[in-house]
Every structure is written in structure tokens, then in C-alpha cells.
């Protein structure tokens, strides 16, 4: 039975596109001491998920937030030890997501405060699965397009990413795997209105609350 609802854990991956790898620069020196071998993952806990139309309040003294447009693969069934050949069979659909992060230049330590604050993952309802290599994600802040990204430069395709991640962890129905975020994505200031869109996935609007 295939389930089509985001109800589980949301995982994401960093440094999964050529542009981000180029932007972060050499990874050979400390603290990284080499490019990542396995997918470098993070978790967006349940409290980060909000629907279209939400107002997201930034924690503490934060005045702006990185808005990383991405796409999430929604698991339709429990899946472990997938192969690139069969991995997409486990995917029930896609969500368009805005992975919000307080700016952090270093990927060395887990960025929990930066990436896990309440409301830091606006996402759409589940849409039918399409080939994401053909998608262009557009990010508008206050009506102005600040970024467009295509998903044709992923280092690990959705199928490869699912296979590599499920080698060591079981993904369950309702879990989501975000396919990657730009290193140092565009920033939105407190008080701004954000809109993401992608052909076939619709759009996602939310606003960044002014300081409480």
C-alpha cells in the first residue's frame, strides 16, 4: 500500500549539487579534510514542518534567514537497502520545500539551532512523482525573483541518493528525503514574503515574521 502524506521524519543532504561544491571551495583542508564520501545528511524535526501560507518566526536575534528551495522525495513504503534501479518504486510523490536556515558558513558541526527552529520547513502537499532533473525552482522574495535553480546538476540523483542513504537506515512511509540545498542560499529578511515555484509542483508561499 502506498501512503501519500508527510508524516514521518524529514532528512536532507548538503553538497549534492555542482554549484554548491564550487561555492564552498576546497574541502581538503581542516575542518573537512576531504570531500564527503557518504551523503552528508541532516534532520528537520517534526516542529519544522509548516504548510503554505505560514508565518515563520526567526529565533532570538536573527534578522534574516537562508531560503533553500528544494524538492523532497516522499516515501510511500518502508524502504531499506534500495538499489538505484528499484529506489524510485518506494517514492509516493514529491513536495516542494523551502529549507530555512540561519546563515552558517561551516558545515563542520550539526547546525541544530540554525536548521531546526520551529517553522523552518515550509512545504507543499504531496504531488505526483516526476523526473526532477527537468525542474526549475524559482525563489521570489517580496515579488522579485532572487534565484532560479535547476535540478539537473545533482551529484547523486534521487535514485542514487535513496540507495546510498538506505544502505544504513530504513526510511519509512511518510518520511521525506530532500534532494539537496544550495550552499549559502539567498537570504530573506524578517518581514519579507517568500514564494517558491516549480512547474508541475505548484507554488509555496510563506512570510518571515517580524521580530516578536
Amino acid at each position: 500500500m502506498i501512503k501519500q502524506q508527510v508524516s514521518g521524519t524529514v532528512y536532507g543532504v548538503i553538497l549534492n549539487d555542482a554549484a554548491s561544491l564550487q561555492k564552498i571551495g576546497s574541502l581538503e583542508e581542516a575542518p573537512y579534510k576531504g570531500a564527503p564520501k557518504a551523503p552528508a545528511l541532516y534532520i528537520k524535526p517534526a516542529g519544522t514542518r509548516v504548510a503554505c501560507g505560514a508565518t515563520v518566526h526567526l529565533p532570538g536575534e536573527a534578522k534574516s534567514v537562508e531560503v533553500a528551495a528544494t524538492v523532497g522525495l516522499v516515501l510511500g513504503r518502508a524502504a531499506a537497502r534500495l538499489t538505484p534501479e528499484n529506489a524510485l518504486d518506494a517514492v509516493a510523490g514529491l513536495v516542494l520545500a523551502a529549507d530555512l536556515s540561519l546563515p552558517h558558513a561551516s558545515y563542520y558541526r550539526p547546525a541544530i539551532r540554525e536548521k531546526c527552529f520551529d517553522g523552518s520547513l515550509p512545504l507543499t502537499s504531496v504531488k505526483p512523482l516526476v523526473d526532477i532533473a527537468g525542474l526549475t525552482l524559482s525563489t521570489e522574495i517580496d515579488g522579485k525573483v532572487v534565484d532560479t535553480r535547476t535540478l539537473n546538476d545533482l551529484l547523486r540523483s534521487p535514485a542514487q541518493l535513496l540507495a546510498d542513504v538506505s544502505e544504513w537506515m530504513t526510511l519509512n512511509a511518510g518520511d521525506v528525503l530532500l534532494v539537496g540545498v544550495r550552499y549559502q542560499a539567498p537570504q530573506a529578511a524578517a518581514g519579507s514574503a517568500v514564494r517558491l515555484s516549480a512547474e508541475g509542483l505548484g507554488s509555496l508561499q510563506f512570510s518571515i515574521g517580524a521580530q516578536a
Binding site: 579534510k33 564527503p36 534532520i43 550539526p110
Partner: protein, 253 residues
């Protein structure tokens, strides 16, 4: 009071401890071996602390952190008391980490340190295994090290906070096949429980069922297939886990 969750006779039961046995809600008493242990809570968000004991930070050649080093775990990695944990064939160094686990009982946002203990439901024990071969310097400790299936045993009991008046002064002990290899005390935590709750709730809402694994003291050791690992926190409980190899893990029953 001590609360547990078990699988028995085709159903999940919430149970309590009664003179070393397990009591079902209807009063039936069960002995070990007649049921399967589940983690004592259905976990929500699971937080874990890295380098939260000064001696352990030193053991790993790290300076103690200035803000809590927190990472998250998915539900796939949580397993119960008396479970098996897999050591992959290519691992050369896999170690346990005996930790006091704090279970949240009330919703809390922006909880002040002075009020923090008021949202704690109780305590249990976690064994936060790590396989160091897979360490990489991206969001370290990375999920391949810390979020493997069944690599974080939890339980067996959730002990009411009221029954643990001194959570910041509890002995932690790990034994491999009966031999003590790790000893410490929660008194040596760098960031104590109220500080962790204040910090986490300053940016995210804590909810009932969320769990904070508070870190481990020094005394790491490699574990091999067949080893029985006991991680115990004084006045809380003793959690038992067995390490198995790939062949055992993937064997068709």
C-alpha cells in the same frame, strides 16, 4: 514508578514494574522471556549530545564545546531493551556510549532554566553506539555514524522524574560481558539538564515524547559480535544489548 512498553500476545502493552516483574494494566504479571521489550516511549524528536563530559571530550582530543553540541536521531535508530545491534563487517571501531536519557512530558517553548525540570516526565537509559570508521567532518557526528538502524537502544524503564530526585548525581556504568569498562557520573556533565532544556526550547518547541540523550563520560571500548553490553544508570535502569555480525543480522529466520 517505572513504566515500560512491551509487545505481548500480539499487542503493544504499557506496563509497570512490580518486584522485578512486568505488570500489565489488568494485573497480569509476566517474567522476562515471555514478551519483547519496546522502547519505553514512542519517541518524538530525539536529541543527542556530543562531548558533554569534559573527560570524554579530552579522550577524543577535543576542547569542551562552548554551546551544546547537539545532533538529532531518527526513529529508525531507536530499539528496545534486550535487542540486537549490528556491527557491519567493515567496521574496525564500534563503541557504546552509556547515557542518561531525559524524556520530556510537557510542551515547552522558551523554558527558563529554573522551570526546566518541570517539563521532564522522567528518565531512561540510552546506549548511543557509534561506528567511528564512518566519521566524516560534515555535520559531525554524521548520520552514517549515529543514525543507523537499531543502533540506539533505549530503556527498559521510564522512571518518573519524582523518583529520581538527583538526576545530576547518578553513576553511569558500562559492562562488556560483565566486565566494567566505563564509569562516570552525571555530575560531570558540561551542560546540565536544565541548561539543555533552556537552550533547545529557545528555538524549538519541546513536546511530550521528545528525548534528550545527555552524552557520555570517558571509557570507550570496541565491541565485537557476541558481546553483551550492559549500560546502567544508577536509580534508573540497566539496558542490555547484544552485538551481532552481518551474517546473524541478515540471517533468514
Amino acid at each position: 514508578m517505572k513504566h515500560g512498553r512491551i509487545s505481548y500476545n500480539g499487542a503493544v502493552h504499557l506496563v509497570s514494574e512490580d518486584s522485578g516483574r512486568v505488570r500489565l494494566a489488568d494485573g497480569r504479571l509476566l517474567n522476562e522471556g515471555e514478551f519483547q521489550w519496546l522502547p519505553p516511549v514512542e519517541v518524538g524528536t530525539v536529541f543527542a549530545l556530543g562531548l558533554n563530559y569534559a573527560d570524554h571530550a579530552k579522550e577524543l582530543a577535543f576542547k569542551a564545546p562552548e554551546v551544546p553540541l547537539v545532533f538529532l536521531k531518527g526513529p529508525n535508530t531507536i530499539t528496545g531493551h534486550q535487542a540486537m545491534t549490528r556491527r557491519p563487517a567493515d567496521a574496525t571501531y564500534m563503541h557504546y556510549e552509556c547515557e542518561l536519557a531525559v524524556v520530556i512530558g510537557k510542551t515547552g517553548k522558551n523554558v527558563a532554566k529554573a522551570d526546566a525540570m518541570g517539563i521532564v516526565a522522567g528518565y531512561t537509559v540510552a546506549n548511543d553506539y557509534a561506528i567511528r570508521d564512518y566519521l566524516e567532518n560534515y555535520y559531525r557526528p554524521n548520520l552514517r555514524v549515529k543514525n543507523r538502524d537499531a543502533c540506539t537502544p533505549l530503556g527498559p524503564w521510564l522512571v518518573d522524574a519524582a523518583d529520581v530526585p538527583n538526576p545530576m548525581a547518578l553513576k553511569l556504568t558500562t559492562r562488556i560481558n560483565g566486565k566494567t569498562t566505563q564509569q562516570g557520573t552525571t555530575a560531570d556533565m558540561i551542560f546540565d539538564i536544565p541548561t539543555l532544556i533552556e537552550y533547545l526550547s529557545s528555538f524549538m518547541t519541546l513536546n511530550p515524547g521528545d528525548v534528550i540523550l545527555t552524552g557520555t563520560p570517558e571509557g570507550l571500548a570496541d565491541v565485537k559480535p557476541g558481546d553483551v553490553i550492559e549500560t546502567e544508570v544508577e536509580n534508573v535502569c540497566c539496558l542490555v544489548n547484544t552485538i551481532v555480525d552481518d551474517q546473524t543480522w541478515f540471517a533468514t529466520v
